[in-house]
């Protein structure tokens, strides 16, 4: 395996990737920090194990459930995401795909560069905290032409604290994170690391579930999310609670303007606070593409 197991993180730090939810709340809890786990508030220390439990439970059926719960639409969103970035258009890029264990985005980036611009020099480093997901991604890549080439590598690491020795400052042209950042304990920490590893002028791009602004669509979406998705979880993965939690974590994610502000707070420059500026809504805001530039 070409995967580089960067480091084994201490338990208290391994809080990203398939961890549901992000917002850090302060409370009078004697242990200090709390965070949300779906609609529940839990101590930060507990969240990691809870979320790990969730994703250990769903990992083997992750792709199947994504297809079933989104009716395959997540594939269109990912295509649109990569198409927006146009990797390889102006020459090879060094990309880092964080929380990208299953290799969905990395494969699309490499295919896009190769098919559209005959670019076989663009590289993607796939980073994930979950070794099982990386294993899934590695297996997927073995079926492609990129296996055993310098174009792809796998790294087990925490998005909130990428090891500086391996992920050096100012070293990447493109940072992508897809349906992963809401699962991190601290979004600001992830953004700060993204800012650190990107070159000046480079792009941060995030595809994440977001807020639906149309009231009618929002009602339909809520009904679908809270009834159909947990039911599918029960039927396809035998696990209702994990999918109930997944839906709740989506609702807890910041709205588009709030997340855009968080990106700016990390030091990035963005477009204006409107759809088509700092973010691009997909399907009325069910998901959004957020971008920022390190200048």
């Amino acid at each position: 395996m070409q995967a580089t197991r960067s480091i084994r993180l201490p338990r208290k730090l391994s809080a990203c990737r398939l961890i549901h939810n992000h917002s850090i709340l302060r409370s009078s809890d004697p242990s200090g920090r709390t965070t949300s786990f779906g609609f529940r508030t839990v101590p930060e220390e507990s969240k990691e194990s809870l979320v790990k439990g969730v994703f250990d439970s769903v990992a083997s059926k992750y792709d199947l459930m994504n297809d079933a719960s989104s009716l395959g639409v997540h594939r269109l969103w990912k295509d649109s995401f990569v198409d927006t970035l146009k990797p390889g258009r102006k020459g090879p890029l060094r990309c880092i795909d964080v929380a990208g264990g299953t290799g969905d985005i990395a494969l699309r980036i490499l295919d896009h560069a190769r098919e559209n611009y005959a670019d076989r020099e663009t590289t993607v480093e796939i980073v994930d905290i979950n070794a099982q997901m990386l294993k899934e991604g590695f297996t997927r890549f073995k079926k492609t032409m990129y296996h055993n080439t310098p174009q792809v590598s796998f790294h087990e690491a925490n998005a909130q604290e990428l090891p500086a020795s391996q992920f050096k400052n100012d070293s990447y042209d493109l940072y992508t994170i897809t349906f992963g950042i809401r699962n991190c304990t601290s979004i600001p920490a992830v953004l700060s690391e993204a800012y650190r590893v990107l070159k000046p002028g480079a792009t941060f791009a995030c595809l994440e579930f977001s807020k639906v602004n149309n009231p009618l669509l929002s009602t339909l979406y809520d009904q679908y999310s809270f009834t159909v998705i947990p039911l599918l979880g029960t039927i396809l993965a035998g696990d209702r609670d994990s999918y109930q939690y997944l839906v709740e974590s989506i609702r807890k994610f910041p709205s588009q303007p709030e997340f855009a502000q968080m990106i700016r707070d990390a030091g990035f420059s963005t477009g204006g606070d409107f759809d088509g500026g700092a973010w691009t809504d997909l399907w009325g805001g069910i998901a959004s593409i957020h971008t920022g530039v390190k200048i």
């Binding site: 927006t84 480079a202 477009g271």
Partner: protein
Amino acid sequence: MTTTSAKLLKLALPLIRTHGFTRDALSLSVLSLPTPLAHPLPDASVTALFGPGDDARRTLVHAWLDDAKRRMKEEAAENMGIGDVLKARLRSNEPVLEHLPEAFALLASSSPLPLPLLPVDPTPIIKHAAQVSNQACWIVHSDARESSWYTRRASISAIYLAAELHQLTSPKTAPAFLDSLLENAEQAGKALDETTLFANYVWKSWRGIVKSSGVLV
């Protein structure tokens, strides 16, 4: 528009002369920062800050038009006539004249409707001419009131648009063409005013005749 995007757009304006209204001009703008970046912005970063595809170019066109409008006000001197103000505005087109047809084509192709329904949307061009006209009237302290406020601006918009179109094909004769249009418009305006005045007299006369005949009593 965030501060950084606005700053980069401003830095991209001088590059239009050599690179046109292109994504390259936006990309190269970072090389003119007080602390310049080592390389031009990658394509994905241009998209992130200014929009995908031609949207980024349209952002640059709008920035240039806004800058030209701002300069109209800054460069206006006391006692300038409407012709002088419009000629000054035409002069600001000259450095980028070869790129203007493409810029206007970009604006006209930004219709929110699908192309087969509305292949060319003239609204942005009309809006551009209206803004120039409004700015020019504001600079010369036009004393038009009520309906003439609108007719004055509408006629100047049309005149400016025609002169600008003429400028694209014949830059040297554009000022004279503008003068002739303004003169004709003035004569047409006078004729219209006189006709209105005469019609008013006729109307008042007939009303007096009818009243004195006692028909309406």
